[in-house]
Symmetry: C3
Subunit: 360 residues, 3 copies
């Protein structure tokens, strides 16, 4: 919808494109991707969640991308025509490759530098940039090749963007911040606003100049209305390949590792560092000055108040190792019953300690 190549290929061609195996009719023409329940004979589809497995029995999809372990004979279609499958080793990624092939990414409207944009004379723009109306590029800012800067986006003085960045409407990059190549800022993202730094003296909170900046390495994506505070000194860094959801807040001086996934509404207080491939689910909160190891995962709403070693899954508030968290929260539900049993035992023991009545 947002982008459509209107390309039609056969199931066999799709399978070849993703290194998969066709089980069924390889000659069907496929022209788009849709969800299982809405797909028609010309659509490729995908089982996105195990909850929807029963939809395989009734979908009208032209083909469905599945793992090698799923066979057509596993699916009872009743009187419906058998499903055509494309079996691959990593079906989710294969489906992604097919969406890219058939639909592609958003096609940005052809645009050069709009006469309605405000680009400082000292700013440097790379080749083939698209600077939309009411976008601003400040003094001595540098924008790489093929960047798209949508309406209302503001790139403040001395900020530097690599090549192929996309800055969606009304996103803001403060002065001196640095973006690598292929970074994406969704609407309203704020990169490099002042860190929350105040020195309280005689009851007054005195603002500390935040003289650092923010560095986003290559292939970082920042969701809508997320905020990365600039460092008090030095740089707040989001390392390459890391993707943030919406309304995420990263405090000043944080060092976020490579290939992290920080889901919507996560908040990380200042000076915390994370390893590579960390995954924080929605609304996770992390205290400041912590060290989160590589490959750590935190369940939604977890509250992390201490360092977490490499590879550990955590959950709960305060966050604990995931298996323990599951045990704890299972018992939490039983807590009134635990209290009741405890009172019962107290009564029984009191009764046992009471000497039998002599007039019995």
């Amino acid at each position: 919808m947002a982008a459509d190549n209107s390309r039609t290929v056969t199931v066999a061609e799709l399978a070849a494109h993703v290194g998969g195996v066709v089980a069924g009719d390889g000659q069907r023409p496929i022209s788009g991707c849709r969800s299982l329940n809405l797909a028609g004979p010309q659509d490729a589809s995908f089982l996105s969640n195990i909850k929807y497995t029963q939809q395989l029995a009734v979908t009208n999809a032209g083909c469905v991308i599945v793992s090698h372990s799923l066979k057509p004979s596993d699916i009872d279609r009743g009187s419906l025509a058998p499903l055509t499958l494309i079996q691959t080793a990593d079906p989710y990624f294969s489906f992604r490759e097919i969406v890219v092939l058939l639909h592609g990414f958003r096609v940005h409207a052809p645009m050069s530098v709009s006469p309605l944009a405000a680009v400082a004379k000292s700013a440097k723009l790379g080749a083939n940039c698209q600077i939309h109306p009411f976008a601003c590029v400040g003094e001595n800012a540098m924008v790489g090749d093929r960047c798209v800067v949508y309406p209302g986006a503001v790139i403040m003085a001395r900020a530097r963007l690599g090549d192929d960045c996309i800055v969606y409407p009304n996103a803001v990059i403060y002065d001196d911040c640095v973006l690598g190549n292929r970074c994406v800022l969704q609407s309203g993202a704020v990169i490099g606003s002042d860190g929350y730094g105040f020195a309280t003296h005689h009851g007054i909170h005195h603002k500390i100049p935040q003289i650092g900046n923010v560095i986003l390495e290559d292939d970082v994506e920042i969701g809508a209305n997320s905020i990365i505070e600039r460092a008090a000194m030095e740089s707040t860094t989001i390392a390459k390949g890391t993707k943030l959801g919406n309304a995420v807040v990263i405090g000043h001086n944080c060092q976020i590792g490579e290939h992290n996934l920080l889901v919507s509404q996560v908040g990380i207080a200042g000076s915390t560092q994370t390893g590579h491939h960390v995954v924080f689910a929605g609304q996770v909160g992390v205290a400041g000055h912590l060290t989160i190891g590589n490959l750590v995962r935190a369940a939604a709403q977890a509250g992390i108040a201490a360092d977490v070693p490499d590879g550990q899954d955590v959950g709960g508030t305060p966050a604990m190792e995931m298996k323990q968290a599951k045990r704890v929260y299972l018992q939490l539900y039983q807590l009134p019953e635990i209290a009741r049993k405890l009172r019962e035992l107290q009564r029984e023991i009191a009764a046992m300690k009471t000497p039998p009545s002599t007039d019995a």
Copy 2:
């Protein structure tokens, strides 16, 4: 203040307007609405919260809207003049009707299409639209009659708005998204930014084109800086009459039902659906791929990790049925005491099992 019709009516006229009954002086002139503690003789007021009941004894309000069950004789005013009441069946709604009558909604400054706005030639604007300076309407976008698009608001390509929508400053509607009639987007709201969809392959998170859109049905209001992600495929939908607070995040592919109230900072992960008249209090988090029934209510900060049947109230993390949650959190407070008693019982039982000392 923001809007004022400067209209003056009598208490009796107000009562007639809302189908209520006057207890007291129906001839008093009333020209505005104020809170109980600040209202004067020409102001209508309302008991917004039971906590403020004692203010009835001392308020100077010209009249107070109350339910039929409250009588003037219930209120001890001491030496003050008795209160004039307007008794109605639904006093909160009646008060709302009176605020609308006496103050009305925000009066938008008269404005047609500003020469400082950027409206694409292929865009279609309805009758009597107000397009403010630095607002953008993209290629082939359609805006219905009497819409107000404030400064810095961006309507991207092919987006469609119904009639009487209000888009406050710097709100953004991404390409291909659809708004019904009378939708309101407060400042900084983002409709249709890319869903958080990445396929991880060999440790790299590959972006999946988000080829769907967002549909807001009629009478939807979205609070400031809230975000509705566009669907991976198909549409993320907010059904008619639903109102979102601020900084709310709705994940891609969600189907939010009719007349929901989703309070500030609520987050709902992808592909979850809610029934009608669902109410989520502040900071509630909901996992993805869940089904939330009709009329479900969740207490503030609840973490919903499983389907919820129709009509159920839930609270806590992980969310449980509300009565159970209250029992659990009551006992939670007692947990150290429970642990202490348990240790005491262990000691007592150990003592009972120990044979009495023979040298006693």
Copy 3:
């Protein structure tokens, strides 16, 4: 980086500036501030967190600001040259004074009223205002002296700003809102969007005109993408000296006291009031219509559901007195073990009550 006075002073001059005592070489030239691990011989530094104490042993900083209680002899530098210290009574504040001296605050690019800004004819601008391109100042708005209004910022009709305010890109001030002197709005902050007020009648949520406004007193700073709802009637107020982090939401009619620190992602529901010097850590949620006393502090993610008296520290959900919260959450971790011991005791008591088998 964002601002640099390029000033060089001696350690002795710095010490005099902050009323401190030099322990070491007072003649060293110092030209900037850096973190302990990156500072060089011309940099002043500071121990920001006790976790980094060992860095004192190896830092190359030209001088380090410490408290009077830390002596050079406390630091084992091995074969490295001894550290030069500046000892003060409030080292964090002293360091702040030094950052201000050596780097200063952001220098705003010289700019008067841009011809690309939209300033209503009826608006009044004070002396030496900087109004950037694509900023809007609405009808009858008033902006004090020396205010800086960055690109895309919108000041709606009849809003009033005091002197020396800074409104960063794309921040929005709704109609009739009032800012004192020296207020700072980071990017995307929204002041005075409509309060979440709906009267539900026969299943329909009817919007209540929000006829109040927002008042920010002097020296208030609002973080990026934070939202202050306008009052239903009267004013939502943030009293002087209070600082909000990012993505904070303050509901309509709240009365936030003086010198509060409300950290990122805090949410406060409508009509709650706080005393002076309240501190809420990240993601704290507060219910509506509550009274929070002076000097109250709440730990991260706390859920405050009841009034809190002056001076109390609280934590947990629902929030409880901090010492109790620590006890509770310590035991929470032990909950599975508590349940196990309880089952064991039940078995033991059952065994004690069972008469010994007669055929033993």
